[in-house]
Each structure stands twice: as C-alpha cells, then as structure tokens.
Symmetry: C2
Subunit: 355 residues, 2 copies
DNA sequence: TTTACATTGTAAAACGTTTTTCATAGCGTT
DNA sequence: AACGCTATGAAAAACGTTTTACAATGTAAA
C-alpha cells in the first residue's frame, strides 16, 4: 500500500513511473524503455504508455534517473561574479555549448571569496556533475579541492596558471599588454599610468608582466606608474584621485581591468582632460559603452566566445576519456584601437603638473 | 560482491556510505546520523565515523540523498539573459538570499526564447526544485507549464502581470514613467521621443502606459513619438538613425530600457547634440557607466536588491506552506535626476528640423 | 528480582528510476 | 513433433542515501 488515500495526492509530480505502468497495464521497465526510445512507440504498448503519461501528466524524476544511471549531463561552473560582463558572456556562451551537446550548465558564483568558492565546488561535486569549469578567485585553493581526486574532469577558465595540474584556457595576457605598451611608447608616451586590480589574480599578474617587459625593452627615458585600484569603480576612482593629486599627469592611462577603465574615463573628464586628446586611454576588456563614447575608447578585447568554445571542447575531451598531461591553452586577444589610442599632445614631452 | 577489484576503483567519489560504515565498524545508518548531526560526534562511534570519512575522502552523494529525502534545497531561476545587468544583479542577490537560508540557486537563461524557457522550466521541475523564480520572456506561456500543477511554488520576477495566477514581484513601471514624463512636460518639453523595446514584454507595456497616461493629462500641445527599438544597442541605433532622419529633433529622449539609453547617448553625440544641454535624456534602468558621463545621465533606478528580497520571502512563504490567492507586489523605483534632466534649450519651443 | 521504560545501533525498507535476469511465447528448421 | 533460436516483456536488482522498525541493552522504579 503505497498511497492509502489517492485524493490526498497533492501534486501531479507525485506521479511515478509505477503509476504510469499500472495505468498502461505494463511493467515499469517497459515504460522506461518507451520513454527513452529503446522501444518502438507505435505499437499497442508504446501507445498505451504515451497515453498514460499524458493522462497522468507524468514527469520523470531526474534525480532518481540520475542516481540509477550514475552519470549526469550536468556541468558545473563557478565564476567569481555574475555582474562582470566578461563572466556573464562566458556563462551565456557555455550555456549555448551545453545546449548543443545535450548537457546543461549549473552556474554559481563565488563572489570573489575563496571560501565560498571551495564550498561551491564541494557542493557541485556532491551533485556528481560530469565536469567542472572554474574561474578561480584570488587566493583560491582549488588545487586541494579536486586536484587530489582527479575523478571529475575540470577546466580552469580565464585565470589560468601556466604550469598547472588542471587543464586551462586563458588569453595571452602578457603578449597583449606588452604589445599595447610598446605601441604607446612608439607613439611617444613617456609617462604612463598603469591601473591594475590585484596581482593575486593570475591574469592580472600576467598583464603586469607584459607591461613590465615592454617597459624594460625601452632604454630611453620612460616613467611608468603602477596603481593598485580596488575591485569596484568607486575604489578605482579613489585611487586615481589620490594618485592625480600627488603626481604629474600621465600622457597615457592603461587600465588592466574593466571597472578601472570607467573610473579613468570619469576622472580624466572631471579633471578637464579629454581622453583621445589630452590623454591616451586603453582598457583591458571591452564593454558595450566603450565603443559608443566620443571618441570611442580603445580596448583589448577578449574573445569570450572563443575561450568558451575551447574550454568546452577541452572538457568534453576529458569527459570522453581523453588522457595525457594537463594543458594550458592560450587564445589571442584583439586590440581595438578606436579613438583614444593617440600620441601625447605635446609630442612626447612630459605634461606639467596640473594645478 | 559489490566491487570485485578494489584497485580498479578509479575515483574517490565512488566511496559510498557503506564503505565508510564498514571501515568504521558501524552501520550505514549510524554514519548517516553522525553526518547529519542527529548523533553526537564526540564518542567512540562518532569519532570512528569521522575518521573513516576523512581517511576515505568520503563525499556524500547529494543525488541519492535528495532522492531519499524527497525534498531539495534547490531553487530554480530562469532569466532571459545573463548579460543584462539587471538580471545579473538579480542572480547575485538571490544567491545571497539562498546562501543565508541554506538553499542554493540554479540559474539558467532562456535567451529570450519562449521555447527555451519552457524547456528549462520543465527540466528544473524534473529536478524537483523546491521553488522557482521566473522572469518570463516575450510570448512566454509559463501559465500552462506549471500553473496547472501548483505543486512547485513559483514567483514571477520583474515581468509580472497585474492579475496573475502566480505570485509576482515587479516595480511600479507605470507610476515611474508617468512621473518622469510629467516632470519632462513640466520642464517645458513638448516634443519627446520615447524609445521602447517590445510591448509584448509586460513591464515595457506598463512603462508605455505610464507615458501615455502622462501625455493624456496634458491638454496643451504635446508631441510624443514612440520608437520601437530592437533588443540590442545596434538595433536601437538603427531605429534612432531612421527616426532622426525623418523627424524633427526632439527636445527630450526617454528610453524605456537600458540598451536604448546607450544608443540614444551615442546617436545624439554623433549628431552634434549634447545630452543635458541640447536634449534631455532619461533612461529606465541604471548602469554603471551612466553616472560617470559628463554630465551624468538621469535614470530610473530599479531597486534590484529589494526586488530580490521581496521575491525571496514570497517564495519562502509559499514553500513554508503559505496559502491564499496569488499576489503581485510592486516595489517603487527611485529616480536619479542627475545632469541630463534639463529644460529644453530654447525654453520649450520646438527645435527645428536639423539638417 | 521483576517490570517498565528509555536508549542505542543494526537491519531492512524506501525513494523512483534503469538495467539485468529470466521465463515465456513465437517462429523456423530439421 | 522435437529442437533451437530470437524476441518480448515482466520481475527483480541495483544506484546511495535516509528513515523506520526492531532487537538488545541498560537503567530506574516497584
């Protein structure tokens, strides 16, 4: 006696495969076979099953199914922040990949906290996801989490380390920033302000490396200031304010992450400087608004869709049983010069300290 | 004989509660009790269990657990688009609510397709989520999906209908746009361009209603143009271009959704108009960049966090067994006037047709 | 010392599927 | 008609957990 009082069956979802089988006058196994296409649907039994399914509004319990099959078509994704457009696009693209392959993405964010990150990973592993994408936050210890047990295939995205024990896909941060820096120097800039976020994040560190490499190649006079901005526009604004108050105005500003670009644009205008005329401005990471300013703001564009697709195929390779040592793949950035990649106004001489 | 060759046990996650029980010399039930806090952990048995858990790196199978408990602590969320900052913030805030309550959010996007939406809903119901948040896309038929079976508590977010069969939380779209329109008229604007997205989306329709209400209250001369822009910045730009080519320049532009605001800002500058001086500009929905333009751009700000919290508590109420008819709650928007909420340049006379 | 009762932990059932096993029937061949 | 083979679908096992039922033990009261 499974359900003593049928009238108190409160929800349609309480309909199980046995109820369907009973109504169709067949065994649960046959119902399962019909529904999974292992049996023709156009004979008496198949039709009876489909009729019963519709009549009872049967909805298979994915949890039970998943438990029995011992394999899920779910891929976990842990990103630092949904509000970062880069990650938002990454989620969107990975969802598209998943849809094409019959998988589904379960996305969660670590809110830039290593603790939350490891909790989320643990949780996803508990759900026996088939694979895992991770964009590690600063101070992440993901190594210990699920490197130890290589059981679930994983791919690190965006914030990769060069020699890692896990597969990864990132962009060629150092090459991109080095090229931009060299171009700025070439244009005549001698006082460049480089705004970065936090060099505990691997990709930011790489971007800084690229900048330093370009600076070292130059043997003439060159002054590069490095300014640590916080994570938000507000913190970056404050950092810029403080820097501008105490230092000569740079002829070029190079922002190594997206919120700083907005802060730089804001602060320069507030101080009467126009980007593209009085000061060159370049940002790492594109945003919709950048291209619509006058003049449009130059930016290093990360090909998010390419990154997502590469990461997806790497993960699929591992899920499919692909062996071999961990690889780190690099995708090239595109540089959109736009209107703020300009020479210094006075031809390369340092601008005087602004009053 | 459950596992004939222990050395071929390929992954740590294949450790089950029985393995732990065996190693600890207790029954599986006891292990479960220790792990779920139904039994003290600081006696011989408790310690033995914890030791075995650690030694075997046991990770409970959430799927099996969920199946047996027949209740999950998972809340589904279907939004149209991760790249829309409004929804990105919504996800972030709901995640925070979930974390505080011991739930977890599984977020998926419908990519503005009613088909995908209903597929995602079906899928989430298959996973027996404890509740569901939905921001319906245009042409959504969610009613038939899971209204029929009221088994899983649901809350519609953002794009609510006034008299719905499901709970909902939205903003007072009509009131907000009506107030702004009246303010614009008050300032002397007589030729106003209203850019909207798609009135098949309920909240856009409400915003249009508010605009129309304000226009009807005014009995003097007033010209309001309604411009259907597409979903993207590019489509909005094209629509604006076409409109500007064929019509007199408005003294104010009111954008009813966020991508249009960027397009309007872009196009006006491109045509030599400066927002806040030559033309007033107001957007519905705030974005980070708006406040950092010079002058900063006025916007109706939706209190996303408040919306999320209200929606969360509504859903929790239903999950907790709360009965009663469906309610639709409204949250008030805040209007940030900023620098582009200005009177028309020539005091309210229509600007001539620009050549 | 017996009885009643609470405590403890094991054994077994249950959750809803999928898969394996097995019995039966149908068919063709000799 | 006897035999072997295939096809079919019902029955049962399995997935890994939680919960229920129950037996055994200990404790307190009579």
């Amino acid at each position: 006696m499974r359900r003593e009082n049928p009238s108190q069956r409160r929800s349609a979802s309480a309909v199980s495969i046995r109820d369907v089988a009973q109504r169709a006058g067949v065994s649960p196994g046959s119902v399962s076979n019909v529904l999974n296409g292992k049996r023709r649907r156009d004979d008496p039994i198949g039709r009876a099953v489909l009729e019963a399914v519709k009549a009872l509004d049967y909805r298979p319990n994915a949890i039970a199914s998943s438990l029995r099959r011992a394999e899920s078509r779910v891929i976990g994704l842990v990103i630092p922040d949904f509000q970062n457009p880069f990650f938002a696009e990454l989620v969107a693209e990975l969802e598209r990949c998943a849809e094409e392959t019959g998988y589904r993405i379960v996305a969660t964010s670590s809110r830039e906290s290593a603790d939350v990150e490891s909790r989320e990973i643990r949780e996803l592993l508990g759900w026996r996801v088939a694979g895992l994408f991770l964009a590690p936050t600063a101070g992440s210890t993901y190594g210990r989490e699920h490197l130890a047990d290589q059981d679930v295939p994983s791919v690190i995205v965006d914030r990769v380390f060069e020699k890692d024990l896990i597969d990864g896909v990132g962009v060629d941060n150092a090459e991109a920033t080095e090229a931009v820096m060299r171009e700025l120097i070439e244009l005549g800039h001698r006082r460049i302000l480089v705004a970065y976020f936090d060099d505990a994040v691997s990709n930011v560190a790489e971007r800084l490396d690229g900048v330093r490499r370009a600076a070292m190649r130059r043997d003439g006079p060159l002054h590069v200031d490095y300014l640590a901005c916080g994570p938000t526009v507000e913190s970056a604004l404050a950092a810029f304010e403080k820097h501008f108050d105490a230092n000569p105005v740079p002829t070029a500003i190079f922002c190594l992450f997206n919120t700083a670009t907005l802060a730089a644009y804001s602060i320069t205008r507030k101080r009467g400087l126009e980007a593209g005329r009085d000061v060159a401005l370049v940002g790492f990471d594109d945003s919709a608004w950048l291209a619509h300013m006058t003049p449009p703001i130059a930016a290093i564009v990360q090909p998010v869709q390419v990154i997502a697709r590469r990461a997806w195929s790497m993960l699929m390779g591992r899920i499919g049983g692909g062996l071999g040592p961990a690889r780190t793949e690099r995708v090239s950035c595109r540089f959109e010069r736009r209107g703020t990649m300009t020479p210094p106004r006075n031809g390369g001489m340092e601008a005087g300290r602004r009053k």
